[in-house]
Symmetry: C2
Subunit: 222 residues, 2 copies
């Protein structure tokens, strides 16, 4: 389908949050993957709980808090220096291999692109630049401007406001099923990049399209 | 501290959600614990996401949805009959060993007791009766009456409304750290029963008291 713009989730979709595993593994041999999983899971929980209770703190803070929790939960001693190094890795997460090429193709076809993310502007600008994506992206939208994380409506409402089009004419892409569904609830044209071959979340609706890599959305949105 | 009433979270606090492991293990040898963990984790995620997006479905539905997801995620074939049996187990979850005695002692001292839970009234009434707790509990409060799950303020507001006292004069007990913190944010006098010796969640505040079993709150609230 033809849309006015395509917005991408950042963490897990444009950037591989688990690209920190190598660094984590160097600190805690044999535990890098477990730490990354626990860290990511708690990070999301904190975004949801803080939004539910109106206790917003920005994603940099939440990501650091979740890292502290995850290390304690796995009994991994985390020095201040290692904490800072792991958190700093979020500023230059690796993109998935096909991502830059897919964004370039969409951009080359005249599609307006953007990211709509839980990350702060500073985190997003850094990661986009580090991944070589910054020039391909017109809209950099951070929930930090509304102080509520996805799936809150205030977060998703940033898209239509920035693009200047009805939500039903805007594409939204996420590798996080819950995020693709949240955007579907809100009214976007959604695509779920199901990289891990995960089950569809049971939340009554499903994303408009599904694929296994970002490449699969080229046919969907053009 | 002396409080007007003490409200208990139900699932994980009064009732052991992982008491379904034996049944799950009989269906899927060697996978019962993994299924229980995945089921419980997804169940909570769905409550948070649905509340964030204003897409409430009751806890019976959400619990069944999470069970379906968890089985698919672990590649465990779930027949309709086994689905029904596992879900029905929620109606008669086992209480933790000390719980009935602790509630009896508080009740015997004239303390007003209640439960404030994500569960539906039907689920709560069944589980309370099954555990031999029904006569000890004055207030059975279900978020179903407001259509928003914890940690939403509307859920916690059920407590002061039912008890007829300011929230700061009411105790709230949970084994779920996030729930104890949500209640702390809302203003309750909180106690976290940290059965699993889990790390404190990094959410800026901490529960008023902490112990390792329900028995530890006897000193805290009397």
């Amino acid at each position: 389908m033809r849309v006015k713009a395509v917005l991408f989730d950042a963490y897990g979709t444009l950037f591989d949050v688990h690209s920190v595993v190598a660094l984590a593994e160097s600190f805690f041999p044999g535990r890098g993957a477990a730490l990354s999983q626990a860290w990511r899971g708690r990070q999301l929980e904190y975004t949801w709980l803080r939004t539910l209770s109106g206790r917003y703190r920005d994603f940099w803070q939440v990501t650091g808090d979740a890292l502290s929790w995850a290390c304690e939960s796995l009994a991994l001693p985390l020095s201040a220096d290692r904490h800072a190094q792991l958190l700093d890795a979020y500023l230059r997460l690796e993109p998935f291999p096909e991502n830059v090429d897919v964004l370039s193709r969409l951009h080359g076809k005249g599609m307006i692109l953007g990211t709509l993310s839980n990350g702060t502007m500073a985190m997003l600008e850094s990661a986009l630049a580090s991944a070589g994506m910054r020039d391909l992206v017109t809209h950099v939208l951070s929930v930090d401007s509304v102080g509520r994380y996805k799936t809150d409506a205030a977060a998703y409402a940033l898209g239509p406001a920035a693009v200047g089009a009805p939500v039903g004419e805007i594409g939204f892409v996420s590798s996080n099923c819950w995020d693709a569904i949240g955007a579907t609830w809100f009214g976007y044209r959604t695509f779920w990049v199901n990289r891990a071959n995960a089950p569809l979340d049971r939340l009554d609706v499903k994303p408009g399209g599904t694929g296994s890599t970002l490449r699969d959305l080229l046919q969907f949105f053009t």
